[in-house]
């Protein structure tokens, strides 16, 4: 074989053509720029929220977001109230946070029980045909416009509840919880199913081959292995519950009261923003206070999502060492 002296004649010396280079560059920039645009927009939204929210602290003392001190008959008292438009405005977030929790915690508990059961049923018990049939039906619930669900709760379920529970208020925290459950159950159930499907087939086989029954396999092998995924699904469901607006706005009654009762009206942070932001005069204390609520909500959901993501990562590491 003759040695190729001129390096450029070697078949290995071929360089990329200009056309290929250009094409690769265009593809690269197309995707990079699109991602950057999205990231920049999200950052700007966050900055705006932060800016407007923190301006509230210039007008309202941070203590006033907790309680308002009042003097009556020479005695000092604390008012935990949200009356932003009164002559002496009160901006306590406590009743709103309480309202949010009073609605989203029961909703999360209900959804956890049903969502995880449905997830286990779909991934382990149902036949393929049943699964193919049921899955889209359950997932459709997550896609129903929340205003429709809210309306349904307001008109139909509220009347039924009035007959059964005889609540203090026709529209109350519990009604809103049930409404929220309709959208959180699909979230938890599909994440549960994913978590179960992420358990390698071999592990399932190992359990069956050792003579475990289906339920022993589910409870002793699959649930422990998928535990992180299950916890993450519950946290994400809770995050959705805290952040959901339309259903709670329509079904909770919206009375910002300092109440721990499930069958009383309650008002959430989200509903407050939705109901009041349209009527508030810009750059007033009230306006900034609403942005401050938004900031609080953002921080809460951000932390919840972060925690869920961390837990999910831990699960992935645990399964594939």
């Amino acid at each position: 074989m003759e040695r190729v002296n001129d390096l450029n004649k070697s078949p290995y010396a071929k360089s990329k053509s200009k056309k290929t280079l250009l094409k690769e560059r265009i593809i690269k920039y197309f995707f990079t720029i699109n991602s950057l645009v999205v990231i920049i927009i999200f950052t700007l939204i966050f900055v705006f929220l932060l800016q407007e929210g923190l301006k509230a602290l210039d007008v309202i003392a941070i203590k006033d977001f907790v309680y308002k001190t009042v003097f009556e008959n020479g005695e000092e008292g604390k008012l935990y109230q949200w009356y932003p438009t009164s002559e002496q405005p009160r901006f306590s977030l406590i009743p709103l946070i309480l309202g949010s929790l009073l609605i989203s915690i029961p909703a999360t508990l209900i959804s956890t029980v049903f969502g995880i059961s449905v997830g286990i049923y779909l991934s382990e018990i149902a036949s393929i045909k049943t699964r193919e049939f049921l899955k889209p039906i359950i997932e459709i619930f997550a896609g129903i416009p929340t205003v429709v669900l809210g309306f349904f709760m307001l008109v139909v379920v509220a009347s039924i509840f009035q007959d059964i529970f005889n609540p203090v208020n026709r529209l109350n925290a519990f009604l809103a919880s049930i409404g929220l459950s309709f959208i959180i159950i699909p979230i938890i159930s599909s994440l549960t199913e994913d978590a179960f499907n992420a358990v390698p087939k071999e592990i399932r086989m190992a359990s069956y081959a050792l003579g475990a029954s289906k339920f022993q396999t589910v409870f002793r092998v699959l649930i422990p292995t998928a535990m992180s995924g299950l916890s993450a699904s519950i946290i994400l469901g809770f995050g959705r519950a805290i952040g959901e607006t339309m259903i709670v706005l329509m079904a909770s009654g919206n009375a910002a009261e300092l109440s721990f009762e499930l069958f009383r009206s309650a008002r959430t942070m989200t509903a407050t923003i939705a109901a009041e932001l349209g009527e508030v005069s810009q750059d007033s204390a009230h306006y900034f206070a609403l942005f401050f609520i938004g900031l609080v909500l953002f921080v809460i959901t951000f932390i919840l999502n972060m925690v869920a993501e961390l837990i999910l990562n831990r699960m992935r590491n645990k399964i594939n060492y």
Binding site: E202, I203, M205, A206, A209, L210, G211, A212, Y321
Partner: protein, 252 residues
């Protein structure tokens, strides 16, 4: 004295429209080691998994023919599959430990089968791990996650775990495929030891291994049982041309 332990009659296995086994009939003897050899995709694993009915977990599985263990048709409607799998243990091709501690992996089967006495479980674990030649390596770190062990250790731990159900029949699907020669030798010794108590069926790609450890060998090809005989006879003087070609490396 040869006692027929497993009797398979005209067994055909399908996965959807794919036929994995074609009218296999074989008699497997008790307290013997039977090796199953053949090229990849010839139905060795499918055959093995019909004996503890693991194939049923695969979607699209159908079968014709019957499998009798001690003269009982294990595919009868009234057979408790969970009980069957307690009697017919299985070691898989690749290690499939639970992502739990070594101890929990080993105590899993005794616990689900209702052994409550901690001492009995601990003794059982030590006994099976010693048999599987893994005890010395793990006895001081039973609480460690089992997936941190090396591939070879995991495989031996799987064998130990399969023994904790104290099976009657042991199915092994290429148990030594991931092991170094020393561990392989230990496993082969173990198999030799175990046949006093158990009936063992080993699927293997390694023909020297089949020759070393088994009493009987079955050669499968394209889903059919081509030849089945005493290992010494099959390896030295096969009666079928295909077997001879496979053994001499002319195909497969």
């Amino acid at each position: 004295m040869r006692k027929v332990k497993i009797k398979v009659n005209e067994l055909s296995v399908f996965f959807n429209f794919l036929q994995a086994l074609n009218r296999v009939s074989i008699e497997i003897y008790g307290n013997k080691v039977t090796a199953i050899i053949g090229p990849s995709g010839c139905g060795k694993t499918s055959f093995l998994r019909t004996i503890n009915r693991m194939n049923e977990l695969i979607i699209g599985f159908r079968k014709k023919g019957e499998v009798l263990i001690d003269n009982i048709n294990i595919y009868n409607n009234n057979i408790d599959v969970v009980n069957l799998r307690r009697l017919v243990g299985m070691v898989f091709q690749s290690s499939n430990l639970f992502p739990k501690s070594i101890y929990e992996n080993l105590a899993f089967a005794p616990k689900i089968h209702g052994i409550k006495d901690q001492k009995i479980i601990d003794e059982l674990i030590e006994e099976t791990c010693t048999k599987a030649a893994i005890w010395e390596e793990i006895k001081d770190r039973l609480e460690v996650n089992a997936l941190t062990l090396s591939a070879g250790q995991q495989q031996r731990l799987c064998i130990a775990r399969a023994l904790t159900i104290q099976p009657d029949i042991l199915l092994m699907d290429e148990p030594a495929s991931m092991l170094d020669p020393i561990s392989t030798a230990k496993i082969e010794e173990l198999i030799f030891d175990l046949k006093k108590k158990y009936t063992i069926i080993v699927v293997t790609h390694n023909m020297q291994q089949a020759a070393r450890i088994s009493d009987f060998t079955a050669f499968f090809y394209l889903g059919q049982l081509v030849e089945y005989d005493k290992t010494t006879k099959l390896f030295t003087n096969p009666s079928n041309k295909q077997t001879e070609d496979y053994l001499t490396g002319r195909f497969g």
